[in-house]
């Protein structure tokens, strides 16, 4: 059946010629079928044999020049049949099967009408309007009938068997489906092969990429180049560690070499941290280094000099960072530390100071204050030594001044920046090189003070010594205040340190108060501005006192302020209690001489004037409280001959000292309040 379908697709039904061929065949068969009937009908006469053949004339294939005709060899019967049958479209006439039974009658009908057909069509072409329709219908009927016959012939298999026909290569249209299918199939297999290959490839690419990420020398080199300066000299690759491009003037070349690490045994398992790229840094930059700044109280033995060797733990490498990167960073740090130290020691030798700075081996010693020693040392450890050294050093107290160490790094970078920024482009051609502000000094008519502020000031060492002095002074001030606050409970000292400091200046606000009386006793508020060499004290009333760096000065000053505070507190209390201030003096000229500052005194009288309290308070001698009684209460007073009148008994009489330590109360002001209350008569 599939063969039939194929035929049906390619043979065209509408070709009239083809139809006639088919009719010819069909009629021949019909005739043969009917023959016995005819024979029986015409039993009297012998049957007339009609043979149908193709014409004997053969087709001329070509005529040669001498007139000989070459013929196409005649087709054999089966060939002819096959050729004709190829043209039949069996599929299109399949719907005529239903009229299987009526086949005979149709046939007869068609044969009956057939003679009518010829006449009117030929001679009266336009007899009536439905003529063409009728003709078409008739031809359709004819074809239907023929088709029916053909089908019945095929179906019966009595007369004709359909065999597969050898394909005509010239037509070559039929096998397109086969071609398509086969092409499809082969394409599918090819695609499968390709897909498999692609899968394998992508797998291997992913694998090799992972390997390459770690092990490819070139990738590493590219990575290295993105972070460090490299250049090629001969067949070597050299890199630059130095800060020269950042403005450093240090003479160390700071060159490292990039080496391809190929000595690994490929058969063995490659270690995880294997890197095909290795860097070789100069031997003097190996290991780790740092600058150590410390302040010591006493001068060390001369044997200790130059042997400072403290090592910190190696900072752990960041995960993901390559080995060479941490190595280079460490080397660069060593280089920077060396530069700082070289700069400092150069300055230490050049600068003239009262006490010359000492430079011994890897240590610079300077004396910022008498009895105090600032040591700046360069600690450089190579990796091998480190393991032996760390253990004994761990026991040592950590006296690093990390702030100064950090500031040293910051200062050297500032110095670098200065050297860089001194030649900012664009630069006018007519002006010498120098900072921009200095260049503008002329046209802007800067005066001497402004110009001198533009000049480069202190060197690295001077700056760091100043900072060290300030840090020391600040910590000592803090300690002094804290000591006093813990030693003396009455009055109390509060210190409020400001959070924002300059490297050379910081300030603290000191309040002296009495517990429970903070609101009324606010007279002493001091602002201490701690500088480099001295401390400036600003009083609440605007007085300014300058103290030197000596610890004792500040302590004495605070003690005298505390003693004054007590007297001020009595004055404030008297106001609140309704007592009258008779006299007040911050600096009493009488009495015992105090070793620190002066004593202060106050005398207050009770509201009705009967009693008077006199207080003298010295920083060293402490407080002395006296109460004056009216004459009438003094029993041991001898009767005077002059003051006989009763009114004189209200005059105030002698003083009596109060045993202050035996008074009840938690502090001075509270005791004073109780005393005043006791001496105030009840209304």
């Amino acid at each position: 059946m599939s063969g039939e379908n194929t035929f049906s697709q390619h043979c065209s039904w509408n070709s009239v010629f083809l139809c006639f061929d088919l009719f010819f065949i069909v009629r021949m068969f019909v005739f043969q079928r009917l023959q016995p009937v005819n024979r029986s009908r015409m039993s009297g006469s012998p049957a007339v044999r009609v043979s149908i053949e193709s014409s004997c004339e053969r087709q001329v294939q070509e005529v040669s020049l001498d007139g000989v005709e070459t013929y196409v060899p005649p087709l054999s019967m089966s060939q002819n049949l096959a050729k004709l049958a190829q043209r039949i479209d069996f599929g299109q006439g399949s719907d005529s099967d239903e009229e299987d039974l009526n086949g005979e009658s149709r046939e007869s009908e068609w044969s009956k009408q057939n003679p009518d057909e010829e006449g009117p069509v030929k001679f009266q072409p336009c007899l009536w309007p439905w003529d063409s329709v009728r003709n078409n219908l008739r031809s359709a009927l004819t074809e239907m009938c023929v088709l029916h016959d053909v089908l019945s012939i095929v179906k019966e298999k009595k007369y004709m068997a359909l065999d597969p026909v050898s394909q005509d290569p010239t037509v070559a249209k039929a096998p397109q489906v086969f071609q398509l299918i086969s092409k499809k199939k082969s394409l599918a297999t090819a695609a499968q092969v390709l897909l498999k290959g692609a899968e394998k490839l992508s797998k291997s690419v992913a694998e090799s990429q992972e390997q390459r990420r770690q092990r490819d020398f070139n990738a590493e080199l590219l990575h290295l180049r993105s972070q460090w300066k490299l250049r090629k000299v001969g067949d070597k690759i050299l890199g630059d560690l130095s800060y020269r491009s950042a403005g450093s003037l240090f003479t160390h070349h700071g060159t490292f070499e990039v080496i391809k690490n190929t000595d690994i045994d490929l058969d063995k398992k490659i270690p995880d941290d294997y890197c095909p790229l290795n860097v070789q840094i100069p031997s003097d930059l190996e290991g780790s280094a740092y600058i150590k700044v410390s302040i010591q109280k006493q001068a060390p033995d001369i044997g200790d000099l130059g042997t400072v060797n403290l090592f910190r733990r190696q900072p752990k490498a960041r995960p993901g960072a390559q080995a060479w990167h941490s190595k280079l960073e460490a080397a660069q740090n060593v280089l920077l530390c060396k530069e700082i130290f070289a700069q400092l020691s150069r300055e230490a030798v050049q600068i003239k100071s009262h006490i010359p700075h000492i430079v011994v081996k890897n240590q610079i010693i300077s004396q910022p204050f008498p009895g105090l020693q600032l040591s700046i040392s360069l600690c450089h450890s190579s990796v091998e030594k480190k393991n032996q050294r760390t253990s004994p050093d761990k026991t040592k107290p950590d006296d690093h001044l990390y702030v100064l160490e950090h500031n040293l790094h910051q200062l050297i970078r500032e110095f670098h920046k200065q050297t860089l920024s001194s030649s900012v482009m664009p630069h006018p051609a007519s002006v010498p090189f120098g900072p921009k502000r200095l260049r503008l000094a002329g046209p802007m008519a800067y005066d001497k003070a402004e110009i001198s502020s533009l000049q480069p000031s202190d060197g690295l060492l001077e700056k760091i010594i100043k900072q060290a002095k300030h840090i020391f002074l600040r910590s000592r001030t803090a300690r002094t205040i804290d000591c006093l606050a813990s030693r003396i409970e009455d009055p109390q000292i509060q210190a409020h340190w400001s959070n924002i400091n300059d490297v050379y200046e910081s300030s603290v606000k000191v309040l002296i108060t009495s517990q429970g009386y903070e609101q009324i006793c606010k007279s002493i508020q001091l602002q201490l501005n701690i500088g480099v060499e001295q401390i400036r004290v600003v009083h609440r009333d605007g007085r300014v006192i300058t103290l030197s760096h000596q610890e004792q000065e500040l302590q004495d000053f605070l003690l005298s302020q505390m003693s004054q505070h007590q007297v001020h507190a009595v004055q404030q209390l008297a106001k609140v209690m309704g007592w009258h201030v008779l006299s007040f003096s911050n600096h009493v000229g009488l009495g015992a001489i105090e070793s620190i500052g002066n004593a202060s005194a106050i005398t207050v009288a009770s509201p009705n004037g009967e009693y008077a309290i006199s207080v003298r308070n010295g920083p060293e001698s402490g407080c002395k409280v006296l109460v004056q009684f009216p004459r009438c209460q003094a029993k041991d007073l001898p009767k005077s001959d002059v003051l006989q009148d009763g009114k004189w008994s209200h005059l105030r009489g002698p003083y009596k000292e109060v045993h202050w330590s035996r008074m009840e109360g938690r502090n001075f002001v509270y005791k004073m309040e109780l005393l005043m209350a006791a001496l105030t008569p009840c209304p």
Partner: protein
């Protein structure tokens, strides 16, 4: 930079320039002034040469002041003014074809610098071609830049050591469109010096003075 007043002090009767200056030094030191180095102000005159039309050529003055050591000032009398850096002198040499230096007209004032609290007093001897012509006194009040706010204080201070020779308020302050309350700058000082120098220069033609 504060408010500055420049004036000329006449030479005392029967005394030389140097003696008068010494006298003033003494007075200042008695007041409590502290000597703080020295100062100088100089002024060179340039003629314009390439003037084709018959207009009277203006004189260009190039001045230096030790207070502003990196600057060089160029002024026409009555303006405009120019402040430049020290390379301006070199430029003037290059501009020889347009501006010619009048060699004999160089005037300068040199002397001592005294500080008295916020006041800066500069006592100078005005010399022209190496002969002393007069005495200049510059008083600067450093704590203020607005002349109108501090003029009375300055006047009182000047009277304390100059006596009746204390000057009136300089015209550079009053002639400004904003009046007395515009901030003073170095140009005001230099134009006062220029005024003083041209006054001194005119004295030169007096027959009594000795020209060497």
């Amino acid at each position: 930079m504060g408010v500055t007043c420049v004036c000329q002090v006449p030479v005392a009767e029967g005394k030389s320039v140097q003696q008068t200056v010494d006298q003033l030094h003494k007075k200042l030191e008695q007041l409590g002034g502290v000597k703080q180095g020295s100062f100088f102000v100089d002024c060179e005159t340039y003629h314009t040469t390439g003037n084709a039309s018959g207009q009277p050529s203006k004189l260009l003055y190039v001045m230096h002041n030790s207070e502003t050591p990196l600057s060089c000032l160029a002024l026409y009398e009555g303006g405009p003014y120019l402040t430049a850096d020290a390379n301006f002198d070199v430029l003037m040499v290059k501009l020889k074809s347009h501006f010619q230096n009048a060699k004999g007209h160089k005037v300068e004032s040199r002397g001592a610098r005294y500080r008295y609290c916020d006041f800066l007093v500069k006592l100078g001897t005005v010399t022209m071609s190496s002969s002393a012509r007069g005495i200049s006194v510059e008083v600067e009040y450093c704590a203020c830049v607005v002349p109108g706010d501090c003029w009375n204080l300055m006047k009182e201070f000047m009277q304390s050591f100059l006596g009746s020779n204390a000057p009136e308020i300089p015209s550079v302050f009053t002639s400004k469109p904003e009046g007395l309350f515009a901030p003073a700058d170095c140009m005001d000082t230099m134009s006062q010096y220029l005024e003083l120098f041209s006054k001194v220069r005119k004295q030169q033609v007096l027959p009594g003075s000795s020209v060497r």
